[in-house]
Structure formats: structure tokens, C-alpha cells
């Protein structure tokens, strides 16, 4: 202990740390899986839009829903989780450091996740798990599908525990100091992830695995769906928060500015932790068996989670304006015009931010209780998460890729790669506008999501939808070109870009910033409030669901060709 006291913080140790070669290998491993997933998942997306527009039929007896399951699992669960965990490890490594032991545990998390991913992927490829990534009971996949998923979740928990340990060790060494902002944010995100994924882990381990193995005859369908959506909404915040990390603490540095407010950023993240979880019923609004009063209460809680996002929007645009004015750009919009539009590290996330304006508005519509009936399970919802997850989040992740990969591989983002990146961002925007726009409109007309090509008996209503499905195929094809370009850029940044040093941008506070109040680090209190809110939102309705449960459902495997 004495030794550590001596080694205590001089100003130097507070500056971003250097990422060693050994660490880079760890972080890059997560990125490899992420970009392989992007390629495979993207190709599956393209196939879907082509099938559904009536352009092609799949060869070799491949089922549309098999392709759809692979697309959902590999992009929504694999790409996101690997990218996020790799990115978050690099943030922790840069701000609080990683010890040898933690490093080993981090590798363990990687391999546990990889084993799980491969198990799940093989099951899907063999056509034994055409249950889509929500795997709603009583459709039954092969047990290996569920066991693989459980391993992915357990692997991600190990990563989260390593992150907690990293911050804890740092805090021990820096008593009385506030934690680095990015480390604080990573810790919030992993806390939320672990608390939320307990729900799906319980469903998978207690309900699905014994039932799919035949040890349990029936499954409680509503309980499994409720546990899934207890996890399913925070899941989307688990994707969004790393994007917010970049917006709050990285983009300001890229545009040559400072942090807007360290304390407000922390407060926003704490509010996101509170209100991301006790809101799952807004995905189950049209379901029987759930007390309507509790549905409404969770809708109100859902609206609370809008507030930290509004704070985020304000902070970010305030940073843009302050930075622009400081650089001397005059007029009402001078600061906006002179943002570094030609720097892809800024442009890609910026398009993501702008997409979140219609994306967030669409989310409010979906969660608006009775208004949900207009869009529930229509392809509007698919359109919604393609402009939020697949644009806001993914373009921000691409924006991170442009500096993180070369930083880790000891290369540089050259002018020509930057230009390719700008083209990539534009292709993405065009493709997504066409595809997601068509999905939104078709959804409002009643077109369902998650459905293969169908003329629905030639009814007049369905005949109007085909044009939107063709537009989705056009958008999907453009997006696939964008994916190919992105994978090319990734390969280039990993193996071929010129050697050099690429900056790991982390924004600093203003010289005269007001100090961050220490109560923001009161982790026990934040966890207690989070759990209290969950207990408030779920205890009564969940007990009610269990007490009024009907007899369970036996497994159905033949409808998905798994008998």
C-alpha cells in the first residue's frame, strides 16, 4: 500500500495513458469480430430486401426467416456487443489503465463470447433456430442456440466486472479525485447492461434451456416475454450510450473545443441508468395478461428517459456553437457552417446525431400507449430502429473506427481514407433514407415487419405495399455497397494504412469549469435508486402475471422446420 501512496497522482498520470501493443491486440480482437459480423449481417439484410421485393427466391432451401434470424442476431447482438465492449475496454485502458490480471480476465470474456457466438451461429446456419433474435416462446430452437446466447451474455458480464475492477483500482490509487468522465460513462453502461441482462439470462437459463432439452414440458410464455423485454429496452440504450460517450467526450476534441459540462454529462448518464430499465412494457402494449394501469405507468417512465437525451442534444449543439464562436465565426449560423464537415471523424457521427431527431420522435410515437396500435409490429418499427440503431449508433461507431483502429494498429487515417469515409457516410445516408423512409410509410399503411414476400391473397391493400418493398430493396442494395466500403476501410486501417500515430481524441474541461460535485460518484445510491425503480415498475405486475398464469405451452419446433 505504501508503494502505491508514493506512486500517487502527479499531473502526468492524469493525462490519457498509452495503450500498449498487448492491449491493442485485445481491443482489436473485439473489432475483428464486429467487422466480420457487419459483413455477414449486412449481406443477410440485402438478401431479405431482395426476397421481400419479389426480386429473388433463395436457393438451396434456405428460408427467409433463417436469413432474418442471422441478420438480427449477428447485427443487433454480435456486432454491437463486440464493438461496444472493445471500444469501452479501450476507453478504460486510456483513462484508468488495465492490470495484467484484468487483461487476462478480459481475454476470458472475449473467448467465452466467441464460443457462445459460434454455437449460436452454427445452430442458425443449420436451420435449427429460425426463431429470430427475439426467440419468442413457444417456438423452439435447438438447445445450442440458447446455450450459445447464454455464453455471450456471461462473457459480456466478465467484461463488465473487469471494467468495474479497473475503475475501482484507479479510485483506490486516486483518493478524493473524480473518476475520468469516460470511465464513469463506461461503468454506467456496464452496470445497466448487467442489471438488464439478468432478466434475459434468467429466461434463457431457467425457462428456455430446460424446456428445449425436454426437462420441462411447458413454458410460461408471458413470463418469458416479460423477462425478454425487461432486457430488450435497456439493450437499445446499451447501444446508444457508447455513441453518447463519443458525442459528449470525444467529438468536442475533434472539432477543437472543450467539454460542455462534465457534471451535466454525468447527470445525463445517471438518469439514463435510472430510466432505461423499468420501461419494458412499452414493447408489450398490445399483449393480453398485463394490467393496463402498469402498462401506462411504464409508458410514463419511458417518457422520463427522453429527458437525458434532450440534455444531450442541448449540450452537444452548445459545444458546437461555443467552439465555432470562439474560432471567430459570426452570424446566427456561422458556427454551424464552419463545423469540420470534411473530417469523417466528425461527419459520420454528426449525421448520426441528426438522424436521431426523427429517430427519437419515432420512438416517442412507438411508446405512446394507444398510438402504438397504429404501428405495433408493422415495418414502421423496423424503419425506426434502422434510423436509430443502424444510423445514429452505427454511423457514430464508424466515426469512432476512423481514429480508434489506426490508433490501435499504429497507423494513420490518411486524406484518401478520410475521403472514402465521407463517401461511405453519404452512401449510408442515401441508402438509409430510402430504405427506412419506405419502411416508415409502408408501416403506416399496415405492412407487417418480419414477413417474407407475400401478396396476401391479392388484396388491394397489400398490392399498394409492393412499391415500398421495392424501394427497400433499392435502399438495402445501396447500404450493402456502404458496408463493403466500410469493411474495405477497416481492412485498410488495420493492415495497409501508413504507419504513424493517430490521436485518441479525449476532450478536456474548460480551464474555468465549475468543479463536478462529488455526489455524482455515489455509486451505491445510483444502484439503489435503479433497483428501487425496477422493483416499483415490475413487482406488482410481475407477481400478477405469475399468479394469473395459464397452463404453460409445449414446445413447437415443426413450424420452423426444426423437428
Amino acid at each position: 500500500m505504501l508503494l502505491e501512496k508514493i506512486a500517487e497522482p502527479n499531473e502526468e498520470s492524469r493525462l490519457p495513458l498509452t495503450i500498449s501493443k498487448q492491449e491493442s491486440r485485445l481491443y482489436m480482437s473485439f473489432m475483428y469480430v464486429a467487422f466480420i459480423s457487419l459483413f455477414i449481417g449486412g449481406m443477410m439484410g440485402l438478401l431479405q430486401t431482395l426476397v421481400r421485393s419479389g426480386t429473388i427466391t433463395l436457393p438451396w432451401g434456405i428460408d427467409y426467416y433463417q436469413v432474418l434470424t442471422l441478420h438480427g442476431v449477428i447485427l443487433a447482438l454480435v456486432l454491437t456487443t463486440y464493438f461496444i465492449i472493445g471500444f469501452q475496454f479501450s476507453l478504460m485502458g486510456k483513462t484508468v489503465g488495465i492490470s495484467q490480471k484484468q487483461h487476462k480476465a478480459a481475454w476470458l470474456s472475449f473467448w467465452v463470447m466467441v464460443v457462445g457466438t459460434i454455437m449460436t451461429a452454427i445452430t442458425i446456419l443449420l436451420g435449427k433456430a429460425n426463431v429470430l433474435y427475439t426467440f419468442y416462446a413457444p417456438l423452439k430452437a435447438h438447445p445450442a442456440f440458447y446455450i450459445g446466447l447464454a455464453l455471450v451474455i456471461i462473457g459480456s458480464w466478465i467484461a463488465g466486472i473487469v471494467n468495474f475492477r479497473q475503475l475501482y483500482v484507479w479510485k483506490k490509487k486516486h483518493p478524493g479525485e473524480k473518476s475520468p468522465l469516460l470511465a464513469f460513462m463506461v461503468t454506467i453502461n456496464m452496470l445497466m447492461w448487467i442489471i438488464a441482462s439478468i432478466g434475459v439470462a434468467v429466461a434463457v437459463i431457467v425457462q428456455f434451456i430446460p424446456w428445449s432439452l425436454g426437462y420441462a414440458e411447458t413454458i410460461n410464455v408471458l413470463v418469458s416475454r416479460t423477462l425478454f423485454w425487461y432486457f430488450g429496452h435497456p439493450l437499445v440504450y446499451f447501444w446508444l450510450l457508447p455513441a453518447y460517450m463519443a458525442w459528449y467526450a470525444i467529438i468536442p476534441k475533434i472539432i477543437g473545443g472543450k467539454l460542455f459540462s462534465d457534471s451535466l454529462a454525468r447527470l445525463a448518464f445517471i438518469l439514463l441508468l435510472f430510466f432505461s430499465i423499468p420501461v419494458g412494457f412499452h414493447h408489450q402494449l398490445t399483449e393480453p395478461g398485463i394490467d393496463p394501469t402498469w402498462k401506462f405507468i411504464q409508458v410514463v417512465l419511458t417518457f422520463m428517459v427522453v429527458i437525458p437525451s434532450l440534455m444531450t442534444a442541448f449540450s452537444i449543439f452548445a459545444t458546437f456553437e461555443i467552439t465555432g464562436r470562439r474560432k471567430g465565426f459570426k452570424g446566427l449560423y456561422g458556427w454551424f457552417k464552419h463545423l469540420p464537415w470534411k473530417d469523417v471523424r466528425f461527419l459520420a457521427p454528426m449525421i448520426g446525431m441528426l438522424a436521431f431527431i426523427p429517430g427519437g420522435a419515432g420512438g416517442i410515437i412507438n411508446a405512446s400507449h394507444q398510438m402504438n396500435a397504429v404501428v405495433h409490429n408493422t415495418i414502421w418499427v423496423t424503419g425506426h430502429f434502422h434510423i436509430t440503431a443502424a444510423t445514429t449508433v452505427v454511423l457514430t461507431f464508424f466515426g469512432i473506427t476512423y481514429w480508434l483502429i489506426p490508433h490501435l494498429t499504429g497507423r494513420t487515417l490518411t486524406k484518401s481514407i478520410n475521403r472514402l469515409g465521407i463517401i461511405q457516410a453519404i452512401i449510408w445516408t442515401v441508402g438509409m433514407t430510402i430504405m427506412s423512409g419506405a419502411m416508415h410509410i409502408q408501416g403506416l399503411l399496415g405492412g407487417p415487419r418480419r414477413s417474407s414476400y407475400s401478396e396476401y391473397g391479392g388484396t388491394e391493400q397489400a398490392s399498394e405495399w409492393i412499391w415500398y418493398q421495392i424501394a427497400q430493396a433499392v435502399g438495402g442494395s445501396i447500404l450493402f455497397i456502404g458496408i463493403l466500403l466500410m469493411v474495405f476501410i477497416f481492412i485498410k486501417l488495420t493492415f495497409f494504412a501508413p504507419k504513424g500515430e493517430e490521436e485518441f481524441p479525449i476532450a478536456e474541461e474548460e480551464e474555468d469549469a465549475t468543479p463536478t460535485p462529488m455526489f455524482l460518484e455515489n455509486w451505491k445510491l445510483w444502484i439503489a435508486i435503479t433497483i428501487a425503480l425496477i422493483l416499483f415498475a415490475y413487482t406488482i405486475p410481475f407477481v400478477d402475471i405469475i399468479q394469473n398464469s395459464p397452463p404453460g405451452s409445449p414446445p413447437f419446433d415443426w413450424p420452423i422446420g426444426n423437428s
Partner: protein, 155 residues
């Protein structure tokens, strides 16, 4: 923790909008009965055919231009299908699933409900506009999911 004055204004205005929309939503839900379908009756999912009213699915006249449609949903069909009702009729659909989770949606209306095994779902709609409406399953239920559709004709 000091907030910028304009940020305070921004948050006050937007939170007011959120609160107002919640008040309107709550009023519509609880005072006008426009809440989403949330029936809480249950049934043994393996004995649907033997349990009333699902032992005799069909369209029943229950009042002056009021109808009840007792319907089972199963892979990949609706029973009964090709329903006909007069214009202006108020129709209550009483539904359950005989196997997996299905969705019940009438395109071009606000009728949209999950139909789950073990649960009885109810949803009511008044059909003023004559025409043929497409009923489709909007929850993935297996390889033939896209074929699970029928119609309701308002005359």
C-alpha cells in the same frame, strides 16, 4: 451544479410538452377507454377446442348492429376467415391461439393485438367505411407466417 439559462428554458419547454402529452394520453386511455388491448382472461392452450366459446368459433350477432367474432388463431390461419359484417357494425373480436404467439392486425384500422397461447384477447372496432379489409398475422409464427391472412368485408 449550475445549468446554463438557455438549457433550463429548453428543458422546461420540452418537459412541459412531455407532461402534456402524457396527460392527454392518460385521459384518452382511462376516461375515453382508448387504451391498448389488455384482456386478462386465461385458457388452457392445449384444450382450446374443448373450451367455450372457442369450441364454436364464428360470427355472432349480439345486439343492434353489434357483433362478436369468436376466433382461434393457429399456424397459419384464422378461424373463421373471410368475415362479412354490415357497415356501421361494432365488432368485438374474442381470440386465442392454439399454438404459438400470433398477431392480429386489420390493415388500415387501429386494430392491432397480440394473441398468445393461454390468454384470451379482446379488441373492439366499429367499421363505418364499407370495403374489404386485410386481416394479417403480424407476429412471426413460423415458415408460413407470410401466408397467414384473411379478410373482413364491410357491406
Amino acid at each position: 451544479m449550475k445549468m446554463h439559462r438557455s438549457e433550463e428554458i429548453w428543458l422546461i419547454i420540452s418537459v412541459t410538452v412531455l407532461v402534456l402529452s402524457m396527460v392527454v394520453t392518460g385521459y384518452q386511455t382511462f376516461a375515453l377507454g382508448m387504451g391498448p388491448p389488455s384482456n386478462t382472461e386465461t385458457i388452457d392452450p392445449q384444450k382450446v377446442d374443448e373450451t367455450a366459446p372457442f369450441d364454436e368459433p364464428g360470427v355472432y350477432k349480439v345486439g343492434d348492429n353489434e357483433y362478436e367474432v369468436v376466433m382461434t388463431l393457429q399456424i397459419f390461419s384464422f378461424t373463421p376467415g373471410d368475415i362479412e359484417i354490415p357497415a356501421g357494425a361494432e365488432v368485438t373480436f374474442t381470440m386465442t391461439s392454439k399454438d404459438v404467439v400470433h398477431g392480429f392486425q386489420i390493415a388500415g384500422t387501429n386494430v392491432n393485438a397480440m394473441v398468445m397461447p393461454g390468454h384470451i384477447q379482446k379488441i373492439t372496432q366499429t367499421f363505418d367505411e364499407p370495403g374489404e379489409y386485410l386481416i394479417l398475422c403480424n407476429e412471426y409464427c413460423g415458415a408460413g407466417h407470410q401466408a397467414m391472412a384473411t379478410t373482413i368485408t364491410v357491406k
